[in-house]
Symmetry: C2
Subunit: 278 residues, 2 copies
């Protein structure tokens, strides 16, 4: 496994790799969710590149950029075990050198939910992902369903800008008690960790109600919200029942939907989602 | 020479071409300036793709999109003579299908001059150029110095977003009387055509004064503006003496500069520029 930092070194390493090439973009502090993306890439591609870059451009001013957990040594051990060919760990100066001034924005799809609560977040995501795509030139890139809106926004960008890349969305990986894997789970203390299962409990309740015949979007939203409100450590930021492609809120009957939520647990902000119908 | 319209057909044709591949993006109605780009690409590349697309996204609401001159048959004849491999003529629906919502913006470099006078213009340019780059995947792309700010903005985007593409800027091609070649020259009637030489006369006077030792930016600007103001059919939009890399206006002494201007001649808006120093 080759570990490179500069774009020039990356491109030298990349030129030796066999196509099809799969890219797994990460912010490091890897967990089983990331590794499931790497494994899928390993199955589908001849070569796998994993990028590790905590992208300042996608953090708001009052967010957790400085605190974001990092453990490069452990990440590299995990990736070596998965048989990854190249790990790319650019610096902030590699990615945003002095004079940097180009930004990519996706419109309506990036506006609600995370876009509304984290202004500028998706602009940072789409810009850095485009840079990763141009530097690595993969045939496929892997993203997790856990960040559902991110996956849709990236897929939209790829389609709109004609990137010759297939975006593969992999299922959310969960702890035994349902908590979606996230590097930010490391922030939780013991009580918060117990409370954090409330996201999945709320989503599972909505999905169960849907499967039992409750198809009204408002009712499903209220079921999820009711469970969140019962958890003293939880501070719900939003719960939304949306069209799974456009992320427009559904009013009335759900045939195929996506329930998304963001919840504060102490000082940690967690997101999760489930799909309703197929 | 293969002529394709859809992106799928383009990519099929592209897969048969030998690298290095050169792309010449145009809006059609080709003149000797475009052909000089094609010839340079022909010299430097094994294959040449020319795109012809009048990009609505780079025209303002009150600009000349509907009137923009077109003559595809003549364009194809000219390109066949140059030995071009592939001409790509996408439709607006190919480039901006329903639901399209992704835009690329360059910051300070795109703000003054054309950016200030044509709000949204460079956002349309950078977005469509990125799409052309992703669809064609050239190793080199060719732009004219005539659109000096466009060339700088595109080069900045390529650098910032890590496109693996060399941007080649070719000199302005002029008519015998100095008028810079432009598809928009076709709008000029006989009197306007005579008056349109005023841009080059003004630029040449500034350059001559610079070479004769007038290095104060304001003086050079006044020399050019004085000549424009002497032409009754000319309506100067801006004249600016700038740093040739950043496009920041120079105050004081010019060592290496760029004089840029936009001038209305009747209802036609023309731009031109000259470099001062080396």
């Amino acid at each position: 496994m080759i570990v490179v930092s500069s774009i020039a070194d990356l491109q030298r390493a990349r030129s030796q790799l066999r196509a099809p090439l799969g890219l797994v973009p990460t912010m490091g502090f890897l967990h089983a969710g990331h590794l499931s993306l790497v494994q899928r890439a390993r199955e589908q591609c001849s070569s796998v590149v994993v990028s590790i870059f905590v992208n300042p451009a996608q953090f708001g001013q009052n967010e957790d950029l400085a605190a974001y957990p990092r453990d490069l040594e452990r990440d590299l051990e995990l990736l070596a075990k998965e048989g990854v060919e190249v790990v790319w760990t650019p610096s902030v100066a590699d990615m945003y050198p002095s004079g940097y001034q180009t930004w990519i924005e996706v419109g309506p799809l990036a506006a609600p939910l995370e876009g509304a609560h984290r202004p500028g977040h998706f602009k940072g995501v789409t810009t850095v992902v485009a840079k990763l795509f141009n530097a690595v030139e993969p045939q496929r890139a892997y993203f997790g369903q856990k960040d559902a809106q991110q996956a849709l926004v990236v897929r939209r960008m790829v389609r709109d800008l004609d990137f010759p890349i297939d975006i593969v969305i992999c299922p959310t990986v969960r702890e035994k008690d349902g908590l979606a894997m996230s590097s930010r789970n490391a922030y939780l203390d013991q009580d918060e960790r117990a409370a954090a299962t409330v996201l999945y409990r709320a989503l599972a309740a909505a999905r169960e109600a849907f499967e039992d015949g409750t198809t009204d979007a408002q009712s499903l939203r209220r079921i999820a919200m009711g469970i969140l409100e019962n958890e003293p450590l939880a501070d719900p930021k939003y719960v939304s029942v949306t069209n799974p492609e456009t992320l427009e809120a559904i009013s009335g009957t759900v045939v195929h939907g996506l329930v998304l939520m963001a919840v504060g647990i102490g000082r940690t902000r967690l997101i999760d989602n489930v799909i309703l119908g197929d």
